[in-house]
């Protein structure tokens, strides 16, 4: 069986994707930087490791050789992306172009799932709801700018690329909030459960109907809320007054999204917002009892 390549496969999201693909009996090739931690991956049946750098052409060609499909997660994310524009473009844009070029040479029919972001839409506060994939893109930061450029490159060079514009990801574990939440208190937000993102990615790479398409990946109707309500739910679980939260004065990139097509094709919205809150509550109860 030819492996599915997962770039960035040793990162936190990457490991979850690798694990899920293995559960679906796919063989996987992980491509990531040599400095990453491979302890959960190395020596495991059905997992092959290629250590390298996506900015190096020879490494990319070695990673792509003989694969059946690609899940491209490797990227420089905020806040690091905002400090290093040149490196962000080298990894997020040129790295993506190289990967597509290598794949087109070795297996032009293979699917390439590219993880982009809804942040590429920019400020959509005054737009008609919900935001569709045909909405114009306007970057508010370097990260979004790099994702827009990478999407453009893929659309021109890789007809089987599947672009997933992923919303903010909610992880069901207790985490420190940012000093200032990246949205206004009354702004519309629709995040998505981490496990559902993994489901969407894995569904996209194995689904012929997804090839060549652009999808919004967000939580669905139960996740549609406002910034203040979302933070209040989290703070209530932790017993912290909502007055402690600080929100942006200017709109961020968050909004509600049209996910009708992505859900129809990928069937990934499996965790409601209420179920996410219950998972968080369970996690907190567990921590309180330790």
């Amino acid at each position: 069986m030819r492996p599915i390549l997962v770039t960035g496969g040793a990162g936190s999201a990457g490991k979850l994707v690798v694990q899920r693909l293995r559960q679906e009996n796919c063989t996987v090739r992980v491509f990531d930087l040599p400095s990453m931690n491979y302890t959960d991956l190395e020596g495991r049946e059905g997992i092959e490791i290629v250590r390298g750098d996506i900015t190096k052409l020879t490494d990319v060609y070695q990673a792509v050789a003989g694969v059946s499909a690609v899940v491209h997660l490797a990227a420089l994310l905020p806040p690091a992306s905002e400090r290093r524009r040149e490196l962000t473009f080298a990894v997020n844009v040129e790295g993506t172009s190289r990967l597509a070029e290598a794949l087109m040479q070795s297996n032009p029919n293979a699917a390439l799932v590219f993880t982009s972001s809804v942040s590429t839409y920019g400020n959509t506060m005054d737009e008609k709801l919900p935001v569709t994939v045909t909405h114009s893109q306007q970057a508010l930061d370097i990260y979004a700018e790099s994702k827009i450029a990478a999407e453009k490159s893929l659309k021109e060079s890789c007809p089987n690329a599947i672009i997933l514009r992923i919303s903010g990801i909610s992880v069901p574990s207790v985490q420190s909030p940012p000093d200032i939440w990246p949205f206004m208190a009354d702004q519309r937000i629709e995040f998505v459960h981490r496990n559902d993102v993994v489901t969407a990615i894995c569904a996209a790479v194995t689904n012929e109907a997804a090839k060549g398409k652009v999808f919004n990946i967000a939580g669905g109707l139960t996740w549609r809320t406002t910034g203040r309500a979302y933070v209040k739910d989290y703070f209530d679980l932790l017993g912290v007054p909502i007055e402690e939260a600080q929100f942006q004065d200017e709109p961020g990139w968050c909004d509600w999204y049209d996910t009708e097509e992505s859900q129809r094709v990928l069937r990934y919205q499996q965790t409601s917002y209420q179920a996410y809150l219950q998972q968080l509550s369970n996690e907190i109860q567990q921590m309180m009892s330790e």
Binding site: L77, P78, T115, S117, V118, S119, I166, S167, G168, I169, V171, S173, V174, Q175, S176, P177, P178, P182, R194, L238, G239, V240, E244, I284, M287, M288, E290
Partner: protein, 107 residues
């Protein structure tokens, strides 16, 4: 209103200071543990974790330990000091483990 976790931390810091002052040159290793707890809690005071309900059980446990330590130091019988300082160290480690909250992921 001050969060219970912050209130507990302030009590622990004050107690640790009093215990260190009361020990003079005795129990050097124990004094290091107490000083380290002061430094950690001073550093943690502005962190979100101490504002949450999650901080209440571990800070309650640490507070109970230092109050006991303070009583035996004030009483002058240090025979239980090593046992209590070990328990306090263990509870401080639990507090630190709980306080290790990773950053929010926003793509």
């Amino acid at each position: 209103m001050t969060a219970k976790g912050i209130e507990n931390s302030e009590t622990i810091i004050e107690s640790c200071k009093l215990i260190i002052a009361g020990l003079d040159s005795q129990e050097a290793e124990g004094k290091e543990v107490l000083q380290s707890a002061i430094d950690i809690l001073e550093d943690m005071k502005e962190k979100f974790f101490l504002k949450t309900n999650l901080a209440i059980p571990p800070t309650n446990a640490c507070k109970k330990d230092v109050i006991e330590l303070q009583l035996i130091v004030e009483g002058g019988d240090l025979s239980r000091f090593p046992e209590l300082i070990d328990r306090f160290r263990g509870n401080m480690e639990k507090l630190l483990k709980h306080a290790k909250m990773e950053g929010v992921i926003i793509t």
